[in-house]
């Protein structure tokens, strides 16, 4: 009893009654998105369970062969198993998208929170800086970073993060601004809560659900951008298996071996679709929630 005396019952950042915890109430799109993402997760684990050929294992005698029992998705121009490369690309492509998203959030979240809460000149300066960066077309800015660092997957991740963070910072700022003007937030400050506590316990819990939706939708566009950069040859470099790079390698052989293009193309499409469906599903679920019962 006495120990509990010093503890302040805090907000639940983890949903208590959110329908996310109840798959039976999921909208079909959201369920499909989750199943697709889970499927990609299982695919990434497949090499541990099954004896698959290495993604860069070449068999020059079996170049550009179509789907068969030995190579269910055929082989590429170097005789590499397309299925093995597709699976090998799951952690690379999705990992790159998640890493880029993490970098974007690492900048945009504190940037947006500080600008939204500080207001006045601090807000104006921070937002003008973001506006200046946003004035450049996103891909051009990403290309500039890659040009400076040299073509690589890491450079494309940083390039995309550099181009994408300002728009996300704007979104975070708008969410924080709206959240911090609620009566209960100002009341908490007057009632003695410190500034940090107000942010952590009253502002961020309001922002997080919307942020989760944004993250999911933005991850889809980041994945598409990274795949585009790899397709242009300035992202992941051969022989790294990556969906965009696989599409680039397949380009000259489209007529001869369409499976080389279709398989990674489908993977990118399904992954983008999965993130979009999950994002839209979360938005739908959160919009229907009872007030603050997440």
């Amino acid at each position: 009893m006495s120990d509990r005396g010093s503890r302040i019952p805090g907000p639940r950042l983890i949903p208590r009654r959110l329908k996310l915890a109840d798959p039976g109430r999921w909208p079909i799109g959201f369920a499909l998105g989750v199943v697709l993402l889970a499927g990609f997760g299982l695919l990434a684990l497949a090499p541990i369970v099954f004896d698959l050929p290495a993604p860069d294992e070449m068999d020059l005698l079996a170049r550009l062969t179509g789907p068969s029992a030995a190579h269910p998705f055929g082989t590429d121009h170097l005789g590499r198993d397309v299925l093995a490369r597709l699976i090998g690309a799951v952690p690379v492509s999705l990992g790159a998208a998640l890493a880029a998203m993490a970098a974007i959030l690492a900048i945009s979240l504190p940037w947006g929170v500080v600008a939204g809460l500080a207001g006045g000149r601090v807000d104006a300066v921070m937002m003008r800086l973001a506006d200046i960066i946003m004035a450049f077309p996103m891909l051009v800015l990403a290309l500039a970073v890659i040009g400076f660092m040299g073509a690589s997957l890491e450079a494309s991740i940083l390039g995309v993060a550099a181009a994408w963070w300002p728009s996300n910072a704007r979104l975070v700022r708008a969410l924080v601004l709206s959240a911090s003007h609620r009566d209960f937030v100002r009341a908490a400050h007057l009632a003695g809560a410190s500034r940090i506590r107000v942010v952590l316990r009253h502002v961020l819990p309001q922002v997080l659900p919307s942020l989760a939706v944004i993250i999911s939708l933005e991850t889809a566009s980041v994945l598409l951008a990274l795949s585009s950069l790899s397709f242009l040859g300035i992202g992941a470099q051969p022989p790294t298996p990556e969906w965009g790079a696989m599409l680039n390698e397949a380009r000259p052989f489209f007529a001869q071996a369409p499976h080389m293009l279709i398989v990674p193309g489908l993977a990118v499409t399904l992954a983008v679709l999965a993130f979009n469906l999950v994002g839209e599903g979360m938005r739908s679920l959160l919009d229907k929630r009872e007030p603050y019962r997440w």
Partner: protein, 240 residues
Amino acid sequence: MLTARGLSKRFHGRDVLRGIDLTIAPGEVVGLIGHSGAGKSTLARCLVGLERAEAGEITLAGEKVVPGKGNTRQRIQYLWQDPTQSLSPFLTATGAIMETLAGFDIGPRAGRLARAASLLETLGLPRALHDRRPHSLSGGQCQRVALARALAAAPQVLILDEPLSSLDLATQVSTIGLLREVHADTGLAMLIVSHDLAPLRQLADRILVLDASRVVEDLAMVDLACKAKHPLARAYAATL
């Protein structure tokens, strides 16, 4: 106790407060009445620091203060018009009180939970409701939690902005009784903003009438009916 001199405030080029002078003595309950848009809530919000007055000064116990800053935040507490919206949906009733006790470092840490429970019970919130969040409490119950939170800070002045306007009639009656009890027990100085004279008649020692951004009448409540000179004050007196 709390004194304001020459408070002025403009919104969008329009004067909302013009040279307001106000004094609240220790233990005194002052009613602030006026039509909608007269500047009552703005004045209350300036006194607590939710709005910044463009001119004038505020002193508390003879010391010039900036409302909402430093220990003035604790010394002047505020009860919001809509208690449901002023309580965090992320905190239980107990959590709201605990936040104030911890924020102002009031009392020993180990005793805060018991203190919060005792305060809530004193204000008539049954123990079974202490772990509930605002959305599962009624307006009157939220008002009690909000009042308990304000009292937990052990303030010198309590400013109440239309404390009855969002409550039904029965709850208004019980809240008036509650405020009278609180005042009798604590001797707290209060400023009660209202557009309705009836509750102020039961609670206030003195009444300020605000019209067109100015204080047009400042009288003891008992003198309102016989000594009011301004037409608006006389109109209010006629409703008694």
